[in-house]
């Protein structure tokens, strides 16, 4: 017992390492679940990266404890097992510090978006390193002043500031979470944050006790072994419960919870409970679609919108119509429900407005800046200018080609057949668009789940090739 307390390799150590490995695997599964099982496309932006960094920091924290407290027995000491790397750097700025900083960044984002109703003034990739600075400073101090002994334990006097730094980081988390506690979030953001705070506080308390015992009483073997066992187990449980993706990716966390309906693609509109939109005039003698009518009036009709969207998607201009639809859905959320409005607004901004967004729309610089720098995310006319520009773009550039396309012919046939009460014909192999003769959709951002080909002029093509 005596030697394994110093060199590592006690049975309890192996048990603790096994448990921490299991918790790490469970953590990875939880974070990857929505992406793998429900085939949600990779989402860009700080939301995804914050979750990824949390997983990375959790891993660092666990491994740093395993190595620095000598859970595993190695034949000889290697250079990479240096105390300073693990105890000072990986446990601190790259482990616990990074983990809590991520949650603080998430709470900060939520605070600005839902309380201040504007996009956070400091970008996350600037904010995160900023709040990590105290950790980096502390690690540098410990490293340069050589405050760790051979067994990676700190001098007694230094334990207090080190512990304070750990506890100190829970305070801003509490502060931001308290500021947003009155918001009725649609997803589990606040609940997750409080849970994280509770777990962090409890863990810090247990760590302090175990750590102090481990550091101070270096000579008592059973105390060493048992205290480090408790330390590792607590950390394993902490990282698992602390992790959450709802604060940064509410839609994804919603998807991961809906295990019963794996095939249903959850849109933000559905997740927020916005009912399906659009008139559907199935009866009546008046023609459903009149090319002379203004496009914005026509697009209010769901069937027309679907047909126009299919046409636009076929010539790689679909983002305009998708944007119209989602802004239309936003318009259905009542003004006295700012929380839902803000969710939808934020989602639309990340998907359509931000530079490099997956379905970025073609709008002017001024319009884009107007949206990104707004002081009220719940404002009813936030997307008015963008909508205006895109409707003009669609009217002048897309609409003309649509009227002479097969998509419109199909729509007309469908309407007239419905009016006559007949069955619809199946229009396979006649997808004609004056815009494109051959579109291959295998890498289509608009239809990631199917690799369909829309080919036209098949009979003509065969004579030419």
């Amino acid at each position: 017992m005596g030697s394994c307390a110093v060199d590592g390799g006690c049975p309890s150590d192996y048990v603790a390492v096994a448990i921490s490995s299991v918790s790490m695997i469970l953590l990875l599964m939880r974070s990857l679940l929505p992406f793998l099982i429900h085939k949600v496309p990779h989402v860009k932006g700080s939301g995804f990266w914050l979750s990824a960094i949390q997983v990375f920091a959790s891993f660092n924290l666990l491994v740093s404890i395993v190595v620095s407290l000598r859970f595993l027995k190695f034949e000889r000491r290697h250079r990479w097992q240096s105390c300073y790397i693990w105890e000072a750097w990986i446990e601190g700025p790259l482990g616990f510090g990074l983990l809590l900083s991520c949650r603080i960044a998430q709470a900060y984002q939520l605070y600005f978006i839902f309380v201040k109703r504007r996009l956070p003034p400091i970008r996350t990739f600037v904010f995160l390193p900023l709040i990590l600075l105290p950790w980096i400073a502390a690690a540098t101090l410990i490293h340069t002043r050589r405050r760790l002994n051979v067994r990676c334990h700190m001098k007694t006097l230094w334990i207090i500031p080190a512990t304070c730094l750990h506890a100190f980081y829970v305070i801003p988390l509490v502060g931001y979470t308290a500021a947003i506690r009155h918001i009725e979030f649609r997803f589990h953001e606040v609940k997750d944050l409080w849970r994280g705070i509770l777990v962090a506080a409890a863990s810090v308390a247990i760590w302090v006790a175990a750590y102090i015992l481990n550091e101070i009483h270096e000579d008592i073997a059973w105390l060493q072994v048992s205290s480090r066992f408790v330390l590792l187990i607590t950390t394993s449980v902490f990282v698992l419960i602390f992790f959450s993706i709802s604060s940064s990716q509410p839609l994804l966390s919603q998807i991961s919870l809906r295990k019963r309906e794996p095939r249903e693609v959850v849109t933000m509109g559905r997740a927020l409970g916005i009912p399906d939109s659009g008139l559907l005039l199935e009866r009546g003698p008046n023609p459903l679609v009149d090319p002379n009518e203004a496009l914005d009036k026509l697009l209010e009709n769901k069937r027309f919108r679907q047909s126009f969207m299919a046409f636009a998607d076929s010539c790689l201009a679909g983002e305009n119509v998708h944007f119209y639809e989602e802004v239309h859905e936003l318009g259905k959320i009542p003004l006295d429900d700012p929380v839902r409005r803000i969710y939808m607004t934020r989602y639309i901004i990340q998907k359509y407005i931000v530079a490099g967004a997956p379905m970025e729309v073609n709008i002017s610089h001024q319009t884009r800046q107007g949206i990104l720098c707004t002081t009220d995310l719940a404002h009813p006319n936030l997307f008015k200018d963008a909508m205006h520009e895109l409707l003009q773009l669609m009217t002048m550039n897309l609409a003309k080609d649509y009227w002479s396309s097969m998509f419109f012919m199909e729509l007309k046939e469908e309407i007239s057949m419905r009016q006559d009460g007949q069955e619809l014909e199946h229009f396979e192999g006649r997808n004609f668009s004056p815009r494109l003769s051959f579109v291959e959709n295998s890498d289509d951002p608009f239809h990631p789940e199917n690799a369909s080909k829309v080919s036209t002029f098949d009979s003509h093509d065969s004579t030419l090739r």
């Binding site: 790689l316 201009a317 983002e319 073609n362 610089h365 205006h388 550039n397 815009r435 890498d443 951002p445």
Partner: protein, 397 residues
């Protein structure tokens, strides 16, 4: 081809060969000729995929319109008949309203922010007209351009403040066709107005997504089976992520660069200079792995605007051209400036072309996409280059 024929004839006419040997050799030669004829006709009937690439407002769609206006045999689509010309009336009227709105709002902004604000303030009698036209320009549904409205727009256009604002046009997003449409307002507002081909070429619409036409150029050899598929795309940043879908099997890229835009900022990012953006885009396109064997035709476009501008606004306002030194004036200076810009683009081409790709075709053309004669000539040159390359690839040259 001809040399093969002569050689064959020589062989066939020869009498001094041994019968058996001659027969075997004859058959081999005949098979060889057959194979080469087949290859050549296949090369001629080859469908060539051409892409029009370039930054926003570089002239891609105007060239595309020119391709449709030319007397060429269009496959599956119609050229510009009267109905199509008429369909541009709403676009042209929209351009007029949008232009006057940008000018009016621009003058207000300059009047607020500039130190010397008085010269951007509209005269008293034109203020109401200005507000009314700005309001119309902000609508989705524009009214038809009547004589009265045209008169009001002309009055506003002639206001000193608006002319001052127009001279600062590079800081605002004023379309290049502004002057042309403003000078032709009376004709455009006529009751029976039918746009001319020139009007259609000047009409400005941002392209979103991808448009394609297939055509067969009519040349001296009318039996030519050459078919071109020409693709037009949007040039703004958000549109460029769609380009990748078109990059397979491209015979030639026609890259449009508007050389008159060296003092203007992007529509989608007013902090970025258009010429610098074009350079970066050109570099990106050149480095694409799909374009290893693709011919590059660089169209240095908007030469007409460049000619006028370069004598008033020095080239070195653009960071890329900061080492430019003017040498003279007038026509000589224009030519000197043009050669400088051309050399800069050539430098970029050779910097971004790996040694393995050095044999791909690269040609630079000076164009004004609005000029029907110039474009017709340029397309002909492009056609010749591509045919020659085609035959070369098939091993016939």
């Amino acid at each position: 081809m001809l040399s093969v024929a002569f050689h064959t004839m020589g062989l066939l006419c020869s009498r001094h060969q041994h019968h058996d040997e001659a027969e075997i050799e004859e058959n081999t030669q005949a098979a060889e000729i057959e194979r080469r004829i087949e290859q050549e006709s296949k090369a001629e009937k080859h469908i060539q995929k051409l892409l029009l690439l370039g930054a926003g407002e570089s002239g891609k769609s105007t060239l595309f319109k020119q391709a449709r206006l030319r007397p060429i045999k269009l496959l599956f689509q119609t050229g510009f008949d009267e109905a199509e010309l008429r369909s541009y009336i709403s676009v042209i009227h929209a351009n007029v309203y949008q232009t006057i709105k940008i000018l009016h709002d621009g003058s207000k902004e300059l009047a607020q922010n500039e130190a010397d604000s008085s010269k951007y303030v509209l005269s008293l009698e034109n203020k109401d007209i200005g507000e009314k036209l700005s309001d119309i320009g902000g609508r989705l549904d524009y009214p038809r351009l009547t004589k009265e409205l045209a008169q009001e727009i002309e009055t506003l256009w002639n206001d000193a403040a608006i002319q001052e604002t127009y001279s600062r046009g590079n800081e605002l997003q004023i379309p290049d066709s502004a002057h042309y449409f403003m000078e032709n307002l009376q004709r455009l507002s006529d009751m029976n107005y039918v746009p001319t081909k020139e009007d259609v070429l000047y009409a400005r619409v941002r392209t979103t997504g991808v448009v394609e036409i297939q055509f067969s150029p009519v040349g001296e050899n009318k039996k030519s089976g050459e078919v071109y598929r020409l693709f037009d795309v949007g040039g703004q940043r958000n549109e460029r992520r769609k380009w990748i879908h078109l990059f397979e099997g491209v015979s030639a890229v026609i890259f449009c660069a508007a050389i008159s835009e060296y003092d203007q900022m992007l529509f989608e990012d007013e902090n970025k200079n258009r010429m610098l953006e074009t350079r970066e885009l050109f570099e990106w396109v050149l480095k694409q792995p799909c374009f290893e064997k693709t011919s590059f035709m660089l169209f240095l476009n908007k030469f007409d605007i460049f000619e006028e501008k370069v004598l008033k606004v020095p080239l070195n306002v653009c960071e890329w051209f900061k080492d430019y030194q003017p040498v003279s004036s007038g026509k000589q200076e224009i030519e000197h400036a043009y050669e400088f810009v051309k050399k800069k683009f050539e430098e970029v081409y050779f910097q971004c072309t790996a040694p393995t790709r050095v044999d791909r075709v690269f040609k630079i053309y000076r164009t004004t996409a609005l000029d029907q004669k110039v474009v017709k000539k340029t397309f002909k040159l492009v056609d010749e280059t591509l045919r020659r390359r085609n035959l070369f690839e098939a091993g016939l040259l």
